[in-house]
């Protein structure tokens, strides 16, 4: 009965996610749901590093910002073709991962967190001051693109459909990767890197691959944000905003695709609706973060998984934890 329902849900999870996001659009305007979906891609990219590989980055806005600025700049100076710009944004995300990776992925824990933050600060400065002639500095720049075939990005419905398809593709990709040997090795590195090395795997290569994947997906999310807003400002690369994605990852439950989606949507709901009622927004974020760290570590999705497991076990069908949470 319920077990059967769960099994069907699990089988067609991508479809369920798609329906849920489509339902979200009429409930909270279409503009908001576009924003939510792009943020979910960013959280997925972040979770690959934090949730799966156990590396906490405090400067992930850098990678988002690289994508955003690469997209806007190539639209301004190269061509009005949005797909070419998207390709440039994604490849610059990969390039920055490839360049910074050898320095960054060697470190763990506090060093990893702060080196990302320092690099983010560096990128922020470059955009804000050093290249302000091209990027418009604090004022930012607008980005407009030509209409190609049916892809007219000034039409909200087209943007919605495009981001919707992108989100589903990213979910599919991340789920496939994390369920493969690669995903198992990532979790192995999180638990004990020495042992993974001992099994004969080149952990440096695995970590590099995960890092580059994460920066690339973040840059992709950044470019999508610019498609949505059609302007770019330094707030897309501001290191102080990196806490948003950490928050989203924690509240949803780190280390699971569904958790990242739940976290992305919950954070965006909180940040869209609560500031109207709460004066001290940063303090509120801080208190919730403390609560999450002290009391609710597994996040919303973790509790859902617990609930399902508790229900299923008496029924005699003991699903493994990882299969539920994948």
């Amino acid at each position: 009965m319920l077990n059967a329902t769960l099994r069907i849900l699990r089988k067609f999870d991508l479809l369920v996610i798609a329906v849920l996001f489509l339902l979200l659009a009429p409930i909270i305007s279409m503009d908001r749901s576009i924003d939510f979906m792009i943020f979910c891609i960013f959280v997925l990219a972040y979770d690959l590093l934090y949730g799966y590989m156990g590396r906490l980055s405090f400067g992930h806005m850098l990678y988002l910002g690289v994508g955003a600025y690469a997209f806007a700049l190539s639209g301004e100076y190269l061509s009005g073709n949005a797909f070419l710009a998207l390709l440039i944004a994604v490849s610059s995300g990969a390039a920055i991962g490839l360049i910074l990776g050898p320095v960054v992925v060697r470190t763990t824990g506090a060093c990893f967190a702060l080196i990302n933050l320092a690099l983010n600060q560096l990128g922020f400065f470059l955009i804000l001051v050093a290249f302000s002639h091209w990027t418009g500095g604090e004022d930012g720049m607008s980005a407009s693109f030509k209409k190609i075939w049916i892809f007219n990005f000034s039409n909200r419905t087209i943007v919605f459909c495009f981001t919707f398809v992108c989100l589903l593709l990213v979910i599919f990709l991340v789920r496939r990767l994390t369920n493969s040997l690669f995903g198992i090795l990532l979790r192995g590195i999180k638990e004990n890197e020495t042992r993974v090395k001992f099994l004969g795997y080149d952990t440096f290569a695995i970590k590099m691959a995960a890092f580059i994947l994460s920066t690339t997906l973040s840059a992709f999310a950044g470019a999508l944000f610019i498609i949505n807003y059609s302007y770019v400002t330094t707030s897309f690369i501001d290191p102080l905003r990196s806490v948003e994605v950490i928050f989203a990852s924690l509240i949803g439950g780190a280390g699971s695709v569904y958790g990242a989606l739940v976290g992305g949507v919950s954070y965006k709901l909180i940040s869209n609706y609560l500031p109207n009622y709460i004066q001290r927004w940063e303090m509120f974020l801080g208190v919730i973060l403390l609560l999450l760290v002290f009391k609710f570590r597994s996040g919303v999705w973790g509790y859902v998984v617990d609930f399902i497991n508790r229900y299923e076990r008496p029924a005699g069908e003991s699903k493994s934890h990882s299969e539920v949470s994948r």
């Binding site: 470190t107 506090a110 702060l114 600060q121 806490v243 303090m283 801080g286």
Partner: protein
Amino acid sequence: MISTLAYGLTVGGILYIISIGLSLTFGTMRIVNFAHALVYTLGAYILVTAMQVLGVGFFVSAIIAVTAVIPLSYLIERFVIRTLYGQSIDYAIIATYAVLLIGVDAIKWIWGAIPIPLSDPVGASFPLLGVELPIYRFIIILISLLIFAGLELFFGRTVVGKIIVAGLEDKEALASLGINVDKYFAVAFTLGSSLAALGGVLYAPITAVNPYMGFQVLLICFAVVVVGGLGSIRGTFLAAFALGMVMSITGRFWGPAADTMVFVVLGLVLIIKPIEA
């Protein structure tokens, strides 16, 4: 040129004073204590308030500010860091960041977000090779040297200091000798925090006091700690002055790049000597 050098030494001195606490928590617990930035900012704000409300002089206010943050830093250590330590380093880092967010917002609530300028407490300057240099900067350099000497004595001659240095080397071995490591780390933490507040107090007259002053300084101090070598107390001293010089020389040619140059140096150091930790 002389003023650039003097400014570099001043910044280096302040960076050293702030970085000590960071270096100690980093070396002993491998935790980045974001709340360090909060203590630093709070030190500067308490100084301003003490000067305005109580009407006492700069140096009395400075003492008030440094002592006022000690209970706060003890609370942070006891209820945030010590509870989470040993469970997960990531959670401890996120929790201190949350404390920083709450604290900075509280500061904005109490004092407002507008930067508060503060005048030079000494006011006199001193001619050196034809350049007028504020005496206050020499006082800062002198204080940092005194603190360095004091810490050398503390870590080299006293039992508490020696236990903390041993903790930097190997925490487990120290605990197996029957020493209550947590107690001594609390001492190190509080010492580091009060020095951070002192750094905030000393730096306040050079820049304006604003709620976000801690974020930027924390990053630079992190660069100091890494460049100096994790948990190395003397290395921190050298790195602080070297990076202070880098900041002041860069600032002379291109003002906005001063802070950023520090991260470039950090990147270079990490490329040459990667941290496998």
